[in-house]
């Protein structure tokens, strides 16, 4: 019997399930890239171009990204958000959603300096990742996983914005103390606005982070039993939550701003990165 030549055939189902969301993600990546490029040009003085191209480009990118995520979730038959690249994609989308919320509320695109490069990198990593094997879940319903990951990522977004706002606060404070109102950083929002963005991001992010951890605790108990909290990655997450709580308390009760808030914010952010790395 003659042996049939080897042919790599990708089933129609896989094409629809994997390639379509991936296609939309790449479209979003291109649009984010345009926005990022425009933001970089804007930093060197092309402000008119910045206003005209950046916001529409990243806005459209966010919509297309949303389509990619929704399509991926609807078509997936396996465990949702089971791969690092899916989580990166969701995190990038949430960062953009957070950015647009702040842009609409405070009329400032300054957080874009930090958000756009990060979103571009996360989306790039996700858009060009290979098809990772996905194991069907038998333990818990996908709803719990979505809730846990979504809430925790929203908490991370808030922490990221709060941390970055405290950096901007330091820059603006230094600028004002040096009596320099012009120059490279002259386009920054007022000090009070930066402070409010940082504080409100923390306040908004805290319930997300807390409920996200509670959902995670439930998932951990189902999957690993009662001793799940002795896992180092869980301990890092708890540490991060404690730092977050301390940060919020010092801002709310003592009114810490500027340098001290930035240092504590940096510590919380570092703990968040550790927790993120440990859990993915």
């Amino acid at each position: 019997m003659r042996k049939a030549p080897f042919r790599c055939i990708m089933p129609q189902r896989i094409i629809i399930q994997v390639l379509m969301p991936q296609f939309w993600l790449r479209v979003a990546l291109v649009l984010y890239g345009v926005g990022l490029l425009d933001a970089l040009i804007g930093l060197w003085g092309g402000r008119r171009l910045l206003a005209k191209v950046m916001i529409p480009a990243v806005g459209l990118g966010t919509v297309v990204h949303c389509v990619s995520l929704a399509e991926g979730a609807m078509l997936s038959e396996t465990n949702p958000l089971s791969s690092l690249h899916q989580i990166e994609s969701l995190f990038a989308f949430l960062l953009m959603a957070f950015f647009f919320f702040i842009y609409a509320r405070y009329q400032t695109a300054s957080p874009g300096i930090a958000v756009f490069p990060l979103v571009f990198l996360l989306t790039f990593s996700s858009a060009f990742a290979g098809i990772s094997p996905q194991s069907p879940s038998t333990h818990v319903s996908p709803g719990w996983i979505y809730m846990h990951v979504g809430l925790v990522l929203l908490g991370y977004c808030a922490l990221f914005f709060s941390f970055f706002a405290s950096i901007l606060y330091l820059i603006q404070e230094r600028n004002l103390k040096a009596r320099g109102t012009g120059g490279f950083w002259s386009g920054l929002p007022p000090l009070a606005t930066i402070d409010e963005i940082g504080y409100r991001s923390l306040v908004v992010g805290f319930p997300f982070m807390t409920f996200g951890f509670l959902a995670g605790a439930f998932l951990g108990e189902v999957r690993y039993g009662a001793g799940y909290f002795r896992d180092p990655k869980i301990l890092v997450s708890i540490l991060m939550w404690v730092v977050y709580t301390v940060l919020l308390y010092t801002r709310w009760n003592v009114g810490w701003r500027g340098r001290r808030a930035a240092y504590l914010g940096a510590f919380a952010f570092l703990a968040a990165i550790l927790a993120f790395a440990a859990n993915t």
Partner: protein, 455 residues
């Protein structure tokens, strides 16, 4: 059509003369109507502000606007001669653009002038004194002013001490609404800065002075509250902005005061504007997180930087204006060929109709379709024949050989003769607009500066 502008401003004339020429708002309609009644004036606009009085007119062959100034205001020639400026054509257009863009203002970049030009335009338009050429010029001036505001930072920085104080306060607090201003001392400059802060939204204002009566007087004038000087340190924590201008020889606020104030305010920022000499606020306080201390030299430094910045931006604005003047001149030149194009089309249409009528007897009775076919064929021939002359006229309108081409086409098609015989009253207008129009004749009145669109 010819643009003429005559006027005086803060650079050319002393206040006394500007006062004599100033037109109150109530008399503005009368002044505009008198201007358009002046021989030769087709459209007119009068701009009267505290720094300038200008008459802008669109005339056919020029008009003696100086004579109008003399007769309307009753000012003798000698008083006017050395103080007025006159611009024509391209220079008049440039001047209107510069005024609208606030490049000709006492404080370059101030935003009020554009509103004043718009008001003058609205009054003149309401009276029917601005309708075609001036309408085009002023609409373009507003667009240019918008472009300059968008593309340059000419109006974005403050150049006076008081406005710098407001600008800095806004950089720290964003909005000044709900902010408390504390004026310590009774210096004139602090008073002026407080007035600016209130005008920009600060709602609560406290006054403290070694002489309580003086503080009470100021509080009454500003609708604020007077605080006895002895309570200065207990009450200072309520203030977001502190303006100091006392004659104290030692600083009133030192680092330890700053630390205490920050602790009482839960680290909310405070802005100290120290206008006193010697200083009332120890510069060391600026080192504390959340404390911003600016003394008179710092404020002056920011104002000077802003002035230099504005000067740089003004140069960019001048370049934009020069480009816009060129663009406007080209547009006006293109419009100048329109009457010739219309005459040409009318002339050919007359021939076409005459030929159809002449041939109608030979053709016999035509049905509807045949009529339509004859119409289409003859129109098609005319349009194709006219295509080249019309496009040449349009494309060459702004070129140096425009007048030659224009004249040539008029001669080839015998347009002058045809217009004379066919259009009756329109003849003169068409000739004026089609012939001399391209050369943009100068006005009769002498002036220090004149310009031509084709120069």
């Amino acid at each position: 059509m010819n643009f003429q502008l005559i006027g005086v401003n803060h650079n050319s004339a002393p206040l006394e003369l500007r006062e004599r020429l100033a037109i109150p708002e109530t008399r503005l309609p009368d002044a505009i109507q008198s201007l358009v009644r002046q021989p030769g004036v087709e459209e007119g606009l009068v701009l009267s502000t505290c720094n300038r009085v200008e008459l802008l007119a669109s005339t056919r062959h020029g008009s003696d606007l100086k004579d109008f100034l003399r007769s309307y205001f009753g000012v003798n020639s000698d008083a006017l001669r050395s103080h007025i400026y006159e611009f024509e054509q391209r220079d008049a257009v440039r001047h209107v653009f510069r005024v609208a863009c606030s490049l000709d203002s006492m404080v370059v970049g101030e935003p009020q002038i554009l509103g004043q030009v718009k008001e003058a335009y609205a009054v003149a338009r309401g009276l029917g004194a601005v309708h075609s050429a001036l309408e085009a010029l002023l609409s373009r001036a507003f667009a240019v002013a918008k472009r300059v505001r968008t593309e340059t930072a000419i109006g974005s920085s403050s150049v006076s001490i008081s406005s710098v104080a407001v600008q800095l306060a806004q950089k720290i607090f964003g909005t000044l609404k709900d902010k408390v201003v504390y004026v310590v001392g009774a210096g004139k400059m602090a008073e002026l800065a407080a007035r600016h802060l209130i005008a920009n939204g600060a709602e609560t204002i406290l006054f403290s002075n070694r002489t309580f009566e003086r503080a009470a007087l100021l509080a009454e004038a500003f609708g604020g509250k007077a605080i006895p000087f002895e309570q200065l340190y207990e009450t200072a924590c309520h203030a977001d902005i502190v303006l100091t201008s006392t004659g104290a020889s030692e600083p009133l606020f030192r680092r330890e005061h700053g630390e205490r104030l920050l602790s009482q305010r839960k680290n909310r920022p405070m802005f100290f504007i120290d206008i006193a000499v010697p200083r009332n606020v120890d510069p060391e306080m600026n080192r504390l997180d959340g404390m911003f201390v600016y003394d008179i030299d710092h404020l002056q430094g920011v104002a000077s930087n802003n002035s230099a910045e504005r000067k740089k931006e003004a140069e960019r604005a001048e370049n934009i204006i020069e480009l816009e003047v060129d663009r406007f001149a080209s547009r006006m030149k293109s419009l100048a060929v329109v009457p010739t194009i219309l005459s040409l089309q009318e002339y050919c249409e007359t021939i076409r109709q005459a030929e159809i009528d002449r041939s109608r007897g030979k053709l016999g009775k035509l049905n509807v379709d045949q009529e339509a076919a004859v119409e289409a064929i003859t129109r098609g021939i005319i349009n194709k024949l006219l295509h080249t002359p019309i496009t040449t006229l349009k494309s060459s309108a702004a070129s140096p050989e425009a007048a030659t081409i224009h004249e040539m086409i008029r001669r080839i098609f015998n347009l002058n003769g045809n217009l004379n015989s066919a259009n009756g009253n329109n003849t003169q207008a068409s000739r004026d607009q089609s012939g001399e129009e391209l050369e943009y004749p100068q006005a009769n009145g002498p002036g220090p500066k004149t310009g031509r669109f084709d120069s």
